[in-house]
Symmetry: C2
Subunit: 310 residues, 2 copies
């Protein structure tokens, strides 16, 4: 499993073939995403979720994804040391993935890695991300249930939610609920959900103390109830098709970049470099001209029409 | 100036034309980048740099760029309030730019905005970034002198430098130099520089206390000495051509994406969505097939050969 995920991450030519072979054997696992600000206790919570799923006799794959920075790799891998308590359990598989700076990056590597765990028979796959930026929102586009973790005592956490996380959350957790201000945070989340006309579901906001395990059973029940309802209504399937469509678009975008960049080297002539140096032609205008030479997506051009008509 | 920068940020069709018209009038300003970890006091240092440059009778444009997250915009804009002390000075212009989530993003918007300030006659342009991730490294690819700010008391700051910032730094600052550990940080930077066989220049590491202005005069002198030497050796010009070449490649990459994506909608048929839903064809294989239909970069294909030969 680990070797296959590494291959898929690498962008090696074999990766596409392996991914294609795996695909028909996927779709069985239910995928849970865990996101929230740094310091919210996500890793501890994930450890507790693994333990609770094992108690329910379900196997669990975990992907810990750090898309934010090439410089924070060490910290995340360090966190993972705690997961050694599951090292002898064949029904638990944990893998860290860090941003390798590829174009497309984690938003393509994550669903590929999820499918490895899925095809290998994991009942649940938990995807944990560090941070709450745009990359995390993109990664959460590959899961069946997005769990957003908040904690008391972080000044701008509600601000964070207002700005974009609110839209992607299927389930909220107020972790470190033994701290001052926990019930205020939970109330604030519920108020914001009401304002948006959502949130009538029971247990949409669950309080936990991940360090002791308090509330984890309730959280897993809330997640499982959500997933069962999604499946029954057909929304699970529709959501997955939407996600696969988005993933397809990202692959097209990435492959278009790669193809055009591969052909670019020979096109940047001495004349072009001189024009840049003497500032007679700007980079964007040159780029537009080079693209017109390289791409054939305009159906009104003679060649484009020819292609469209064949 | 502000309206023009907003236009260039917006990706509006007029932006390319405006950028092209500006380009021949650029290249005069010297551009200084300031980067370093959050909490290093970069904003305060930038305020002091503005004041010092004004004492030297040079005009200063400032771009404060936050590429890290769509959710941190507020904090950065809040910081900028302090700059109101320069609000009546016509020779100082300050602009915040936040990540709008465009493909290509800040690494294309930043050089465009720098050129506006340059063309408008600013003697120096200071680009301040928040954080030390990959985006910041990309933004620093648009400046003539990259200044990396470190502070005592941040456990992993030297680790950060080892991981990538060391390579892009032209000038180091140890800010908050009145704190414990400041001289140790400066020594550690000098040791790392020696290990890499660079760093013989005087004043390559300058200590400052931005809150009181201590060391700022020395820092500006170090930056100006570096820039003068770069110009005299021809390296300033060579570096700028390299940067413009990189910018050209990014524009090509972005435009390739946009063109292909624009043509994609009609190509994702019901059949394709069914194949995804029933997992008979995986997203990457479908993407590869769509790209083969859309792109004409293979000179061996009949159509490619036709285009290449005309």
């Amino acid at each position: 499993m680990a070797r296959l995920i590494t291959l898929l991450e690498s962008g090696h030519p074999d990766a596409q073939r392996e991914g294609a072979e795996l695909f028909p054997h996927t779709g069985r696992a239910l995928v849970i995403g865990i996101t929230g600000p740094p310091g919210a206790g996500k890793s501890t919570l994930v450890d507790q979720l693994i333990a609770e799923y094992r108690r329910r006799d379900l196997s669990v794959g975990v992907l810990a994804v750090d898309p934010s920075s090439p410089f924070t790799r060490g910290a995340l891998l360090g966190d993972r040391v705690r997961l050694r308590s599951f090292v002898d359990d064949d029904h638990v598989f944990v893998r860290s993935m860090a941003n390798r700076g590829h174009m497309g990056g984690m938003s393509l590597a994550t669903p590929a890695a999820i499918r490895v765990l899925d095809a290998m028979g994991m009942d649940r796959v938990i995807v944990e991300t560090v941070g709450v930026g745009q990359s995390e929102v993109e990664i959460m586009n590959a899961v069946d249930c997005t769990v957003v973790v908040e904690v008391p005592g972080m000044g701008d956490s509600i601000q964070t939610m207002k700005a974009g996380v609110m839209e992607i959350a299927d389930q909220f957790v107020v972790n470190k609920a033994d701290r001052d201000g926990a019930s205020r945070i939970a109330q604030e989340i519920r108020r914001l959900l009401r304002e948006r006309g959502v949130g009538r579901r029971d247990n949409l906001v669950v309080s936990t103390v991940a360090s002791t395990g308090v509330g984890v059973d309730e959280l897993v029940t809330a997640i499982e109830t959500f997933l069962a309802a999604q499946r029954a209504s057909g929304e699970l399937e529709r959501r997955r098709v939407r996600q696969l469509h988005t993933e397809l678009e990202r692959h097209v975008s990435q492959k278009a970049q790669h193809r055009v960049m591969a052909g670019l080297h020979s096109k940047v002539t001495e004349d072009i470099l001189n024009a840049l140096q003497h500032r007679t032609r700007d980079p964007e205008s040159i780029a537009a001209a080079l693209i017109d030479e390289s791409l054939n997506v305009d159906a009104n051009s003679p060649v484009g029409a020819r292609r469209a008509g064949r």
